[in-house]
């Protein structure tokens, strides 16, 4: 909004996920499913056709017993900013069913606009986008728990994590009622952040120095929004996706697993590719 942007700097919602704390328990996944009316089938063990906006990957250091180490990595949509808002998926959608907001930094997905070409899924290196291969069917009676805040999707469209944008919408409603426009930090938190029993996820405005996520990440706008925190890394930072989900780990092998490196390259210390 023209007169809105003058109200302050645009927001850039993002996350910091502490992998030292994450236990891989799956509460974030289920919180997301429950919050966002995500359907399920009788068999969800075929993970390549299982809709999980939030998915937990299991990372391993590849060593043998007893030196093996594992780490869990929850992967929501990374809400890539790319270069100037041209995230990998948004720029390829032929029908403008997904866009990047300069106001919130959120990559949207409008399922009623999507006609299911799946190009965005091919473009997303994080596999954060899911296709509705089937009609969503809730077992008899279970449709009662569906939330009116998120529209259930139909067969044949792509869906993905929205950073629980509807919570922002609702928080903004309340802000209007209270005579304001800005949504306070605690009024807009994603379902996964709220649920995480380990407190591993921190969500907020990366542009706002008062927000915890900013304080943890300390993004460096002069260096492609890289974190100034030594424990922090982003997934596939080198591809220039410029994601807004930062991960923290004290283990070097975990940080190295977040990106592709040639054998001689040092973790987290390679120049960013320009394009």
């Amino acid at each position: 909004m023209k007169h809105e942007q003058t109200h302050g700097t645009p927001m850039k919602y993002g996350m910091a996920i502490d992998l030292d704390k994450c236990t891989g328990c799956g509460a974030c996944m289920v919180a997301c499913m429950a919050e966002n009316n995500i359907p399920f089938k009788e068999d969800e063990s075929e993970k390549l056709v299982s809709i999980t906006w939030m998915r937990i990957f299991k990372l391993s250091n590849g060593k043998s017993f007893p030196d093996l180490d594992i780490c869990y990595l929850p992967r929501p949509c990374q809400h890539c900013e790319g270069h100037g808002g041209h995230s990998p998926c948004v720029s390829v959608c032929p029908a403008t069913a997904t866009d990047y907001s300069q106001e919130t930094g959120i990559v949207s997905q409008i399922v009623t606009r999507c006609f299911g070409c799946r190009y965005c899924m091919g473009a997303c290196p994080y596999h954060a986008r899911y296709f509705n291969w089937w009609d969503p069917v809730w077992p008899d009676g279970m449709e009662k728990y569906l939330s009116p805040n998120v529209s259930p999707r139909m067969r044949g469209v792509v869906e993905k994590c929205s950073f629980c944008y509807h919570r922002y919408q609702l928080a903004k409603n309340k802000a209007y009622l209270n005579g304001g426009r800005r949504v306070p930090e605690e009024a807009y938190q994603t379902a996964c952040t709220q649920a995480c029993p380990a407190g591993a996820i921190v969500f907020g405005d990366l542009n706002n120095p008062e927000h915890q996520v900013h304080q943890i990440v300390k993004p460096d706008p002069d260096n492609g929004n890289r974190s100034r925190n030594d424990r922090a890394f982003r997934l596939l930072e080198r591809t220039g996706t410029n994601t807004k989900v930062y991960y923290l780990s004290s283990r070097e092998w975990v940080r190295r697993a977040g990106d592709n490196y040639l054998a001689h390259e040092k973790t987290g210390q390679v120049a960013k590719l320009h394009h």
């Binding site: 509460a27 299991k58 017993f65 009662k144």
Partner: protein, 722 residues
């Protein structure tokens, strides 16, 4: 005029032009796309006013506070309740899935009686009056024959008013056979009695400890009060505290620990005593709270020399000394025990050995230490005035043998139930009431449990769900689920505080179900006499309100009641239980060269309630794929058996065999196989039934000779290509 081809063509062209200029094609194109945007068969959730209802989750013993979001009359989401002393806003995967249980199709929707063969699944809906009449008639019949003691009841827990009502009913009726589902709580209570000399449980001040030595306790796999433990584990990370996880498999807890010490399965007690021996040897002790240590020190040193322990446990001697020094060097070290989630009663020797470590470091009943918590005592009902029939029944020995002879210290030996019913007991069982438990799936050696159930002439299930035990029942009297009912939830689960939570009806009952408390009161009334007199309440809510007395108002308001100061059971730790023999895995090494150990996963409930679809969806494809269940195998072991990742194999134990898939995992010792506990359901619906293997079909109870509890930590096994 003649309509020739050209005229017709012209008509068609004119029609096409006219159509193109009319809204018909364009509007149809637009509308059909709009139709496709909201197909009539895609549900549209109705909007409405949003309210949040506070309650307490009772799906596990954790006792978390929940806040249920409702839109008009529908519950749409369960969230953690901010500010709650247990979980402060967080919630676990099970708690989040509650609504799928509430609204799920596997609920038992009304009272039913069996009309087909047992287990055939043929039921007839009946009214509550009829159900209560059937139950009353059956129980009266048995009692009138002077055989009241042949009726048994299994409950999920024995704390809180509802289990107390069951127990009261059994007492008034005249049966000593009240049982509860086995768990680590069994051995913990017994250990508190043996070591501290009173009734109670242990509590662990994990938040304030500064060194954690966990003997296989899955502190982030569902041990204790799960959400509280998750939060503690994060706190440990923040405070940079050393956490040592001792277990044969790289569990999630082991992966979260600062150090994982793999050891030979089943040798935890040896390691704990080995560490104790180092502490004694190096005099790194604080013996203020320990009595009777004197001469025992030498026995300990002799029996648990570091080298010897190293051999038994497979842990290097240096590591043992290291652990001892780390433990002794910390200000507030804390040792935990109970494998995984603590679903097995466990061995007294192991429990006592770990508690001894806490005692030797002087952290009993101290900040950051282990507390000997007394039992909750808020249920103060007058004693039951039993009539002659009841009194005669009550003096009979228990079917499971608990409380007498060599099992004098055990309260419940539910693990012995199957053998007892199958002919080993003092008398046959004539009727069984099951509430909040699913023994036909959860008890080890399920085949034998099911055989026992087949012999029981009359089984009543109060389950809300179509579980394996309900499938074996003759009468179904479904309870409300926790979101539809009032209930007090005493929170034990390792907390170093006394707390009571309150479950409140968040939504009105969805089906024709009835509160178990109400059913018990109604049945008692119907049976009349002294039984009716034992239940002086009009309804359950009155009973609950009267019982909670002054706590009621604050519970209604805040949902949780915390006792300010609790007097510990005792401050002195007496040495006991540690000289019992070690519990060995069943089976012969030559025919079964490998060891199968169960492990617990937070994504599975491993308890009374079946996993909701959401939970199963979060299970990795290396645990279940399709209907196949996996076992974790070290690649070396798999190679030796000629098995590759994902390959099907036949797993055989002395108790049974199953087809499994192989998952290669470097996080497990060669020669050991691990299988998750909780799968292999035969009841419920297609979202759960038939997935994976129930490890209880492969493993049987192994009695701890000193207590009678099941202390099986694994079983010998062999693996071959399928």
């Amino acid at each position: 005029m003649k309509v020739d081809r050209r005229s017709f063509l012209s008509f068609v062209i004119g029609g096409a032009a006219g159509t193109a200029l009319s809204p018909l094609p364009w509007k149809l194109m637009d509308d059909s796309s709009i139709w496709s945007q909201m197909w009539p068969w895609t549900p549209v959730p109705p909007d409405g006013e949003v309210v949040y209802e506070n309650s307490t989750c009772s799906l596990c013993p954790g006792g978390c506070g929940i806040s249920v979001r409702k839109v008009d009359n529908r519950a749409v989401k369960i969230e953690g309740r901010p500010g709650h002393p247990v979980n402060d806003g967080s919630i676990c995967i099970l708690g989040l899935s509650g609504l799928q249980m509430l609204y799920g199709p596997t609920r038992i929707k009304s009272p039913m009686k069996r009309i087909g063969e047992r287990g055939e699944g043929k039921w007839q809906k009946i009214s509550w009056d009829e159900a209560i009449a059937i139950l009353t008639e059956k129980l009266t019949d048995i009692r009138d024959k002077g055989e009241a003691h042949t009726v048994a009841a299994i409950a999920g827990s024995d704390s809180g008013t509802v289990p107390a009502l069951i127990r009261r009913f059994m007492t008034a009726y005249g049966s000593p056979n009240f049982m509860r589902s086995p768990s680590q709580r069994d051995v913990d209570e017994l250990a508190v009695k043996a070591l501290f000399g009173g009734d109670g449980r242990t509590g662990f001040d994990v938040e304030n400890a500064d060194y954690i030595l966990s003997f296989g306790s899955g502190f982030v796999d569902g041990w204790g009060s799960p959400v509280r433990m998750f939060k503690a584990a994060s706190l440990w990370k923040e405070k940079n505290i050393t956490v040592v996880q001792v277990e044969p498999r790289l569990s999630n807890s082991a992966a979260k620990a600062t150090r994982w010490v793999p050891l030979n399965p089943g040798t935890e007690a040896d390691l704990a005593l080995g560490i104790a021996a180092v502490l004694v040897d190096e005099n790194m002790l604080d013996t203020r709270a320990v009595s009777g240590l004197g001469s025992w020190k030498n026995d300990l040193l002799a029996a648990y020399a570091t080298e010897k322990v190293s051999q038994t446990t497979g842990v290097a001697a240096g590591v043992i000394v290291d652990l001892a020094k780390g433990f002794a060097g910390a200000n507030r070290p804390l040792a935990l025990c109970g494998r995984g989630k603590g679903l097995v009663s466990g061995s007294l020797r192991e429990t006592a050995a770990v508690y001894l470590l806490n005692a030797l470091s002087g952290n009993i009943n101290r900040e950051g230490g282990m507390w000997a918590m007394p039992e909750a005592d808020y249920i103060q009902w007058p004693d039951v005035a039993t009539d002659n029939l009841a009194s005669a029944g009550l003096v009979q020995p228990r079917l499971d043998g608990a409380g007498t002879g060599k099992y004098a210290d055990a309260r419940y030996l539910t693990n012995r139930l199957a053998d007892s019913v199958n002919g080993g007991g003092p008398y046959p069982m004539q009727a069984l009431l099951v509430a909040g438990a699913n023994p036909c799936h959860d008890l080890p050696d399920t085949q034998r449990v099911r055989a026992a159930f087949a012999r029981i002439p009359f089984i009543v299930s109060f389950s809300s769900f179509q579980d394996e035990t309900a499938a074996m029942a003759d009468l179904l009297m479904p309870d409300h689920v926790y979101l539809e009912r009032y209930e007090d939830v005493p929170i034990g689960a390792g907390l170093a505080q006394q707390m009571i939570g309150l479950s409140k009806p968040v939504v009105s009952p969805q089906f024709n179900t009835r509160h178990l408390g109400e059913v018990l009161i109604a049945t008692a009334m119907a049976m009349g006499g002294s039984i009716a007199n034992a239940f002086p309440w009009d309804d359950y809510e009155t009973c609950l309100e009267e019982t909670l007395a002054e706590k009621w108002d604050s519970l209604m308001e805040t949902g949780v009641w915390v006792q300010a100061d609790t007097e510990p059971v005792a401050d002195t730790f007496q040495l006991a239980g540690m000289d019992a023999p070690a519990v060995q895995a069943e089976g012969d090494v030559n025919s079964f060269p490998l060891l199968l150990v169960p492990y617990d996963a937070i994504q599975l409930t491993s308890g009374y309630v079946g996993e909701a679809p959401f939970m199963i969806k979060a299970v990795a494809d290396t645990v279940i794929k399709g209907t196949d269940g996996f076992i974790e195998v070290n690649p070396q072991t798999a190679r030796a058996a000629g098995l590759a990742e994902g390959e099907r194999a036949r797993l055989t134990t002395p108790r049974g065999e199953a087809q499994v898939c192989v998952h290669l995992f470097e996080g497990i010792q060669p020669g050991v196989l691990a299988m998750v506990r909780g799968l292999g359901h035969t009841a419920y619906d297609g979202h759960l039934a038939g997935k994976g293997v129930n490890i209880n079909e492969l493993i049987g109870p192994v009695e701890d000779p000193s207590t009678g509890f099941d202390a099986a930590w694994g079983i010998r096994a062999k693996l071959a290509k399928a």
